[in-house]
Amino acid sequence: MHDHSIARVNRRSFLEGLAGTGLGMLGFNGMVQAEATKQLVRQQKHVVVFWLAGGVSQLETWDPKPGTETGGPFRSIATSVPGVEISELLPHTAQQMHHLAVVRSLNTNENAHDRGSILMQTGQPKDPGFVYPHMGAAFSSLLRSEENKLPGYITMNGGGQASEAAFLGSLHAPVQIDGDRGPSNLQPPEGMTAAKDLRRRQLRDRVSHRFAAARRQTDTEIYDASYEKAAALVDRRDIFDLDQVPGSERERYGDSQFGKHCLMVRRLLEHGVPFARIRHKHYDSHSENFNFHIEQLGEFDRPFATFISDLDERGLLDHTLIVCMAEFGRTPKINPRCGRDHWGTAWSVALGGCGIQRGAVVGSTIANGTEVKDREISSGHLFHTYYRAVGLDPSEEFYHNGRPFHRTDPKAAPIEELLV
């Protein structure tokens, strides 16, 4: 399925100081192989998405409006970037702002969970005629190293369907990890040596291939892929064993499941996994918006900030694009139940890490937050920016069943102020 004529420079030659690096560029099937012969000097790149499910309020996070009729009860606080203030509900994150950037002028015009989610994770509105892969699958296919058997797309705490990979296939479908201890049943059964495990899996594969060869394929491929990924995880089960992490480090991430997921993702990045999505729920605060956000962001703030600073300390932040977003924001107007409703008209997204201009603030909303004031941004702009940030070409076309498609919305362009 993959075109092996793509030139690959392997890790060894990098270590030997040659101008080439680890990882193959595996494009979309049938893509015009524009970069096939380019040799890029770069390390493994990663993308981590923090998905604040349900729609976190921009007014309680990145774009506070204290003292206005829409601002609510919270104040804004200074951050490590002079002149930039965010909500007081994110004190630890405020100290990491010099690693982050904020877009305050997002207008996606989409207020439905499902459609908003697709728009923010594929960069394209829901198209009845064509299913675009989610960014996890896309980046898995573009950034994943052939040598690394670990899954290319991992999602923590729910929300990963095989259909997100669309035509990219089951290799790039998300692997879901729930719970505090990572996947269960990682430990091989008693008496099962690695050699015996391999032998039985190989027999399993032979039987399965003989069966699938004579029949319609897709579902059988999905099933096979699950065993491949399972085997890779069993092989590297030490990654999920947080007891191997010094107590002081674990303490900084805290005891919440979200904190543990952040730490697991850091370890996954250290082992070359290109894309992880960490889902934190639930932010759909149609009522009691302020209580909700105190609680939710109270859990979110410190592990998120720890994650950023940890990556920085380990030299990973320069190679990891961080995106913190949701399906949409929340209404400036506070409803009778003290809640905020869905709002895609003027909201915010935070980015950081690889290729991103640290401390940048792009765009603004008017005093009460109901409109974008300047520099209106769409999901398409964001996607152009993501691709450029990790060193990929966002305008590249690819072909599927003979039809050309664009990886990102051709009507949009990268947000230059956000890029280094």
């Binding site: 095989a162 692997v175 049943n185 059964p189 032998r199 027999l203 399993r204």
Partner: protein, 598 residues
């Protein structure tokens, strides 16, 4: 044989085929066999000679009438499927082999696999009617009752957690309905008419009460399950993409339920009670957004444009039989909700009949004639419109007799096609699923997977041995159900969701690969398959591979497999042999071939 006797036999055979309870006794063969050469037989011969012409004419007329008016449904299915696709006969896969057929039908109708002995017997049987006999045997079995109960449970309850009504009560209601072969319309009416107020009949109320009496959730699910329409989007506005799903359709259905609410009596039992007042009120959020709304509307109870209801105009003092009061469950004089079961579940409700036929078709074939099964609208026409109309009409005409319907589907050639693609010559995309030119792969449901695993590894026999003198069917069932639950948790998907595309998660692969309980099933234990295989002489690898393949894959091994499987054990030291046999069994049960019904 003389023509008369042939006609007799065929008529009697056909009659026996329609009435399995009568069975062999009605078969002409048996009659002839039973007769011994006696005075009575001589008189019979004489009488027969006299009545010859009469039998001849009657038989011929009956045969002729069958072919015209009473061509069996399964033959009409085949004709219509073939006629719908150009070049169908060349594109279609051949009929499934006996091995393929036996495995498929045992899974579909019995929810499990046959034993290796049952497989051997079926393969060796050369009776021309053996497939239909097999279908009848399965339909009469307790395996069918369990499998159909599980299937209906998931269809109706979407794995919602227990609430208000104990799940065993609900399952008992369903199981009784299946065992009695109650018509699907009657089952539907039983469910929709139950409020839980009768202490001896609370089971069916799970449908309403596990949904917390939530009018919107119930409206949506009634639309999806019984009427083939997912009206969710139409709650807030006319459906943006489907013209026929209007906001008034959603609220017309909701209007039957809007007066209902959950009442808790002094024994803490929840009852789905009803008031005498309350109306639906709706406004399109699009119209509101665009400042084009005329304000909130209401609508009386109706089912699309097909069924409307007249409510009696009662004076206020007569509105209640039992007036609402503190701790008193109200009973209205006229109940809107009581009109719903008959309005929905009857043969002349075309949507109901079509949805019923489509859903049971999808169960057997892996894909509805309307796909998805809750997407019935003119923008999503059936792949075989004439066939679907016929099925709906026939299912209704037979009082929604589920066993009768499934039997007809199982006897069709279309059902019995192989899943194997045409060899090398087939171009990609030449056939697609909706042509029904070959069997569609169906992933095993969680309970099918569990039961198949128990059967393939002969865990059932092992558990019998373990229970020893304490063995009862009940004790055995209890153990198996506990293991079954493991599978439902792992493979059952999210509660409240309808059927989704096939998902194979890493968590499931890890479960099947490393879970200690699963591994134990594959290792030798008195009575199970691994134990049997271990006891076979190691110089007869063919015997071992044969038994392995028949038990787990329901077929004989190919020559390639004989080599592949027996080589797995070559050179394995004696103390490692049990483990190696376990690995061999595991490789098969973890394979694609096992995971799917094909």
């Amino acid at each position: 044989m003389e023509p008369i006797l042939k006609a007799d036999l065929r008529w009697l055979h056909a009659k026996a085929a329609r009435n399995p309870a009568v069975g062999e006794r009605a078969s002409g063969d048996a009659c002839v066999r039973c007769f011994s050469r006696s005075r009575w037989f001589d008189r019979f011969l004489a009488l027969r000679a006299l009545l010859l012409p009469i039998f001849w004419t009657t038989g011929a007329l009956l045969q002729a009438s069958f072919l015209v008016a009473d061509e069996p449904l399964h033959e009409r299915i085949d004709r219509l499927v073939s006629a719908r696709t150009p070049n169908y006969e060349n594109l279609a896969a051949p009929l499934a082999s006996d091995e393929e057929f036996l495995r498929r039908v045992t899974l579909d109708l019995g929810g499990t696999l046959p034993t290796s002995d049952q497989t051997r017997t079926f393969l060796a049987d050369d009776h021309p009617d053996k497939r239909s006999v097999c279908v009848d045997r399965l339909l009469a079995s307790s395996d069918y009752a369990r499998q159909m109960m599980h299937h209906l449970d998931v269809t109706l309850m979407l794995r919602l957690p227990q609430l208000s009504i104990p799940v065993p009560d609900w399952e008992k209601f369903l199981r009784n309905a299946v065992v009695e072969n109650r018509g699907w319309d009657q089952v539907t009416r039983d469910i929709l008419s139950c409020d839980g107020s009768d202490p001896d009949n609370r089971g069916p109320a799970r449908f309403y009460l596990a949904r917390k009496g939530d009018v919107d959730q119930i409206t949506r699910d009634i639309g999806r399950i019984f009427l083939g329409t997912d009206l969710e989007c139409a709650q807030c506005h006319d459906h943006p993409e489907i013209d026929e799903y209007r906001q008034q359709d959603y609220h017309g259905l909701a209007a039957f339920l809007v007066r209902s609410f959950v009442f808790t009596d002094e024994k803490k039992n929840a009852i789905f009670a009803e008031k005498a007042e309350g109306e639906v009120s709706f406004e399109s959020v699009f119209a509101v957004r665009d400042n084009m709304s005329d304000g909130p509307q209401s609508i009386e109870p109706r089912l699309f444009d097909e069924f409307t209801m007249t409510e009696p105009d009662l004076p206020e003092e007569e509105a209640y039989q039992v007036k609402p009061a503190d701790k008193v469950r109200p009973i209205p004089t006229f109940s809107r909700r009581a009109q719903l079961p008959q309005a929905i579940a009857n043969g002349s409700n075309h949507r109901f009949a079509r949805t019923a036929a489509n859903r049971f078709w999808a169960l057997m074939f892996g894909r509805g004639l309307i796909h998805p099964v809750d997407g019935d609208h003119s923008g999503n026409p059936p792949s075989h419109p004439e066939l679907l109309n016929l099925l709906a009409e026939q299912f209704a005409a037979h009082q929604f007799d589920i066993k009768w319907f499934l039997r007809q589907l199982a006897l069709s050639k279309t059902y019995q096609r192989s899943s194997v693609s045409l060899a090398a010559g087939e171009q990609a995309g030449e056939t697609s699923d909706e042509m029904f030119a070959r069997a569609i792969l169906k992933p095993l449901s969680p309970t099918q997977l569990a039961r198949s695993l128990f059967q393939a590894t002969d865990t059932i026999a092992a558990e019998r041995t373990v229970l020893g003198d304490g063995f009862t069917e009940e004790a055995l069932e209890k153990k198996l159900i506990a293991l079954e639950r493991l599978f439902v948790r792992r493979f059952g998907g999210l509660p409240g969701e309808g059927p989704q595309d096939f998902e194979a998660t890493v968590a499931q692969a890890l479960f099947l690969s490393n879970n200690a309980e699963i591994q134990r099933l594959t290792l030798p234990k008195e009575g199970n398959l691994a134990h049997r295989l271990l006891k076979l002489p190691s110089d007869d690898p063919n015997g071992l591979v044969d038994e392995l393949s028949l038990s787990v894959l329901t077929r004989r091994p190919t020559a390639e497999e004989q080599t592949d499987f027996s080589e797995y054990l070559v050179g394995v030291p004696a103390d490692e042999r049990p483990s190696a046999i376990g690995e061999l069994i595991w490789a098969l049960i973890a394979s694609n071939e096992f995971r799917f019904n094909h």
